[in-house]
């Protein structure tokens, strides 16, 4: 951009004019917050938003929804009790120096309409690992050096699952420590899945095809902006 434009963008906290390549739809949570701010209810006193995101009840003044840049390790026809295995990666290089991360919430979205009747209330197991060491191509996730963060059961009636990853994400500010996550979804336990006929297992895993996407909601606090507002008041 021209020097005045560059200077303007800098004052808005941007190093250059963004050029989005493949912009995704705006997450509903951000629309809701934006519209609540743009059209406050009559009589509502505008809260001070320079230092706090009231809508999420955390300190901060920047909300980002990071698109997942990870790839599938395994999906489709099940070879084991695992239906889906995916690396999740969120590029934190866009966070500026001086920004303090105050909240990170992972959302795993399933398509609500594609609830598969063949799953018949089947319970799935979800495990989320933090990758601690780079893996080589072709190695299974079980050989990764990884740390289990979440293990929980769910039935596929949920539209989305939310996980608080604030403490894990704080470490991702250091690029060499951001090796992402491994998401595994399986049909029950290994023992119960092995007891199922292969066709049945295949059908159950097919219902997980409604797996849509994952995103990470991150709130951060730009100290400079917050301090300037406090000082003025």
């Amino acid at each position: 951009g021209s020097p005045p434009e560059t200077s303007l963008l800098k004052s808005l906290g941007l190093s250059a004019k963004p050029t989005p390549a493949a912009p995704a739809p705006v997450p509903s949570v951000l629309w809701r917050i934006f519209q609540g701010r743009a059209l406050p209810a009559p009589g509502d006193r505008a809260p001070d938003r320079a230092c706090r995101v009231e809508e999420l009840n955390v300190p901060g003044n920047i909300i980002r929804v990071f698109a997942d840049q990870g790839h599938f390790i395994h999906s489709g026809e099940p070879k084991t009790f695992l239906c889906l295995e995916k690396r999740l990666y969120f590029n934190f290089s866009v966070l500026e120096e001086g920004e303090q991360l105050t909240m990170a919430q992972l959302e795993i979205n399933f398509s609500h309409n594609s609830y598969h009747t063949s799953s018949g209330g089947q319970v799935f197991e979800l495990r989320l690992y933090q990758a601690l060491q780079m893996s080589l191509r072709g190695m299974s996730s079980h050989t990764y050096n990884h740390k289990l963060l979440v293990a929980q059961s769910f039935v596929q009636l949920h539209k989305s699952l939310l996980f608080n990853l604030t403490e894990v994400a704080k470490g991702w500010r250091t690029p060499s420590k951001n090796l992402g996550l491994i998401l595994e979804i399986s049909v029950g336990s290994r023992d119960s899945a092995e007891a199922l006929p292969p066709r049945r297992l295949q059908n159950l895993c097919a219902s997980i095809d409604s797996f849509l996407d994952t995103s990470l909601l991150v709130v951060s606090l730009n100290q400079k902006q917050c301090q300037a507002s406090r000082k003025r008041r």
């Binding site: 004019k17 050029t19 989005p20 995704a24 934006f34 909300i63 929804v65 590029n91 290089s93 866009v94």
Partner: protein, 113 residues
């Protein structure tokens, strides 16, 4: 013997309407919302004598007095924003992430001398 030129009310320092359209500045490709907003700006004179309606600082009052005595050497006080309000902007960054950011001091609500 002060130098005094009458100023009509329409020339007095006050907020004027200004709509900023992000497409006019070529930012429509990455700013999702709003498409523009009423930013306003300040324009008008801060004449002698300054009245309370002109939101004048003590410094402006004294500068007006000196200006009235020496119009060539001392300028009139400036008409500037004295109260601004924030807006939130929803945009895409370079990684295609969606960002909602709060920006202070984006809308001129009141002007003063």
């Amino acid at each position: 013997s002060s130098y005094y030129t009458p100023v009509t009310p329409s020339n007095l320092c006050k907020p004027r309407r200004l709509y900023i359209s992000f497409s006019d500045v070529g930012w429509e490709n990455w700013i999702i919302a709003p498409q523009g907003y009423m930013a306003n700006y300040c324009l008008g004179e801060c004449p002698f004598p300054l009245t309370a309606e002109l939101n004048s600082t003590n410094h402006a009052i004294l500068q007006t007095m000196v200006h009235s005595l020496d119009p060539e050497g001392t300028p009139q006080p400036c008409c500037v924003p004295v109260r601004l309000s924030p807006i939130s902007i929803l945009y895409y960054d370079n990684q295609d992430n969606v960002v909602l950011r709060h920006y202070e001091d984006m809308v001129v609500d009141e002007c003063g001398c």
